[in-house]
Amino acid sequence: MSKQPKSTGEILLDVRGLTKVFGTLKACDSIDLTIEKGEIHALLGENGAGKSTLVKMLFGSLEPAAGEISWNGSQVTITSPGQARSIGIGMVFQHFSLFEALTAAENIALSLDDDTPISTIAEKARDLSEAYGLPLDPYSLVGDLSVGERQRIEIIRCLLQEPQLIILDEPTSVLTPQEADRLFETLERLRSEGKSILYISHRLDEVKRLCDRATVLRHGKVVDHCDPSKETAASLASMMVGSEVKQIVREAPVKNDDSEALLEIRGLSRAAATQFSIALRDIWLSVNAGEVIGIAGVAGNGQGEFFEAISGEVLQDSAEVIRIRHKGAGLLDISGRRQMGAAFVPEERLGHGAAPAMRLSDNLLLSRHATDGSAFLGSLGVIRTDTISQASQKIIEDMDVRKSAVDPEASALSGGNLQKFIVGRELSREPSVMIVNQPTWGVDAGAAAHIRQALINLSRSGSAVLIISQDLDELFEVSDSICVMHDGHLSEPVPIAEATYEKVGLLMGGADASAATHAGGTA
């Protein structure tokens, strides 16, 4: 891949001393950043380092408390996203804002201010999609499109405004490796046309590969500027975190042919509940004691539906479809399955795994009232507040949950700390079957390492662990085998020794297992 910086040295955007304060927290503290014409500039940092806040100020959706922005040499005040677009700044968000029931072209039309007819927009969109290698049918319904295709709509919508600077927020977090490659080609083509790109990511390999320069943020401050191609992934990571990240230790599982299957899924199918949910099709899987199985897949391929079915939030038609510790569990609700020894951590922390306005001790009771009823509840169902507070303080210490009050409301915790609490809540039960959906989504590197290690340790102590994740790096780090969920199908598990990114990536993109094996063989 050609990677000579084509920047001319001309400065497009120059930011000096940009600051934003929320309450007592300086989210951005006197940030300096320059972006040249025709460069791909990486913005690196952990969750909460201030990347999003900085970008929102550049895009006019937040007003800075201090600092200057100069654009093409003249000073500007960006007061709204509309103004940002008009001077030539475009943005592709991490979370798309598309209407599923409308077509791609209609969605693009909604974001334009004038009343250009849909047919003109569709034609322009088609031209752009061909020019930049972003295949897309403008008349297809968004609800039918994959996440990668939806991202293309966002990018085309952005390109239609002919921006000079394009801001991309974590663009590859929802893509398969192959889709990401295609995106990189598009970005390189844009760079060769002299457009600048501000690229936000925490995936260091792609930053090394793609970006000309990088600015690293930590706790709201710029800690370093560097040329990513001259750094290693490890050196970039330690710049972001400020210290060495602890390496995960994963000993090979004890090989034992007759190790028992603690979780068995036998032909699980589920019809799509709504127009936009995914049907599950005949899923078979068994997870043995002492083993971690990872389920990879692009978001929205049935992982949420799968989790609900396994957890018992949705029941099956027959008990034998799901077996926990050799007993049929398909007709039991989530409390019944917990009592058989299973524990669950859902993807959504606030509003699913935890009630936002309730205290941590109440949130402990939330998932433990059935299994720990004898300890946590007295006669007549009276809650033993003291016992629960002690148990929740113990979890907080074990998992190193950082908080501002003794027993704060769940919503007052940062995402990573709340996730540590939710995972710790289940781990402290020492469950024999643990099912986790997106264990470290939005969690900073230090906390993520802690959670991953805890899950591996649980499995090595004799439990079966099933991890659903979109983060391939994570799955390769913790899993003993990886399977892939695509459009409601689950592939055969691939032992980690045989799994490659390419092979898993092909499965994520919908190739059938034999093709993937072939590709893996020739790779």
Binding site: F22, S311, I334, E348, A355, P356, L365, V382, I383
Partner: protein, 368 residues
């Protein structure tokens, strides 16, 4: 230019959670004073007759307890509904149907006279209200019907059903064609608490007992946790293993049962027979009571007494200063309005900024 902003608090304020009803009551008094001034009355004396005078005599304290009893009984039941996110607006109908079901024995079987009649009437009143509350619950669970509309419309059904009963099949045969049932016999009348000093009957005791029991249920037990969890965060409630369908029935039937008990207590205690209209809107006023009492049963006892005072004050003000008794409704409406407005202070703080000195900007998107 000065700008007033509402800034979201990081945690909800315990202080304003407690203060909000008092702020609301204060604002209601100020608005009421302005209203009386516009009507050409002396605001100070009008407010005195409204809110102080009824408290100065023993007999009117009894009247206060009579008015407060149904308000408290209904409102503590409604607190279970509202906390679990079930919008039962039909307590008035459940009150009426409880009164009708509880009156079956004394109206249709007047010869059946025994000490057991009164407990049976109370139980039938509870059952009638609960059954009537189960209708919107079933519609919500089975057909996803909006319970606000269905429960509200069932109020009018219940009122017209009562009207038809007392004019038709249940009319007193010795009553000269007046639209009333026969008077309840002695075994069917709810006794007074202190008959020497006034008319207040056991209904007020029922209300206090219900408030204490539900306070304990809500604040100390797993059931209370389930009610609040399903109300705040239904998906987390399902993850906890609680069923929201069962909760819909539980909440509606608890509220309906207590409203039914209030209905039969009112009929067997204060009125002594069924008439076309047996409630001055207790079921609706109880909604205000529930919110003014912060959906906390003990707070609801206090709020029920305040709202009962507004009924008495309305009557007193009509006699002494000659304003319409509709002003009672106006006061109740203002009170609810100000309570809901003051509740904003629990989650938000007011900040006054001057843009030329400080550029803080962007409040609504701030995630402080």
């Amino acid at each position: 230019m000065m700008r007033i902003e509402l800034v979201k608090r990081p945690q909800h304020s315990v202080l304003f959670s407690a203060l909000s009803p008092f702020i609301a009551f204060g604002l209601t008094l100020v608005a009421g004073a302005i209203l009386f001034a516009i009507l050409g009355k002396n605001p100070a004396s009008a407010l005195y007759f409204y809110f102080i005078d009824p408290l100065t005599e023993v007999w009117s304290l009894h009247e206060l307890a009579i008015k407060a009893a149904p308000l408290i009984l209904i409102a503590v039941g409604l607190s279970v509904c509202f906390l679990s996110n079930n919008w039962n607006i039909g307590a008035e109908g459940q009150f009426v149907m409880g009164a009708v079901a509880g009156s079956i024995l004394p109206v249709l079987f007047p010869e059946f006279q025994s000490w057991i009649v009164l407990p049976l009437m109370m139980l039938m009143g509870i059952a009638g209200g609960a059954a009537y509350g189960a209708i919107p619950a079933w519609l919500k669970v089975r057909f996803s019907t909006n319970e606000i509309l269905s429960s509200l419309m069932l109020v009018y059904v219940a009122q017209l059903f009562l009207d038809w009963l007392v004019r038709g099949p249940w009319r007193n045969p010795e009553g000269y064609n007046f639209p009333e049932t026969r008077n309840f016999h002695d075994y069917a009348v709810l006794p007074e608490i202190l008959s020497s000093s006034g008319r207040a009957h056991w209904g007020f005791l029922f209300a206090l007992i219900a408030a204490v029991v539900l306070w304990f249920l809500l604040s100390r037990t797993l059931k209370g946790f389930e009610i609040k969890l399903l109300g705040q965060s239904p998906r987390a409630g399902r993850f906890a293993g609680f069923s929201s369908s069962k909760m819909v029935f539980f909440a509606f039937m608890t509220a309906g049962g207590l409203a039914g008990l209030a209905g039969i207590s009112e009929v067997a205690g204060a009125i002594g027979q069924l008439r076309p209209v047996i409630s001055p809107g207790y079921g609706f006023t109880a909604i205000i009571v529930a919110f003014l009492g912060r959906l906390n049963p003990l707070g609801i006892v206090a709020a029920g007494l305040v709202l009962a005072l507004s009924y008495l004050g309305g009557e007193a003000a009509q006699i002494s200063i000659g304003v319409s008794d509709k002003t009672a409704r106006v006061f109740q409406g203002m009170l609810l309005f100000f309570v809901l407005a003051s509740d904003a202070l629990i989650h938000y703080q007011i900040r006054i900024t001057r843009p030329q000195t400080e550029r803080t900007g962007e409040v609504s998107h701030g995630n402080a």
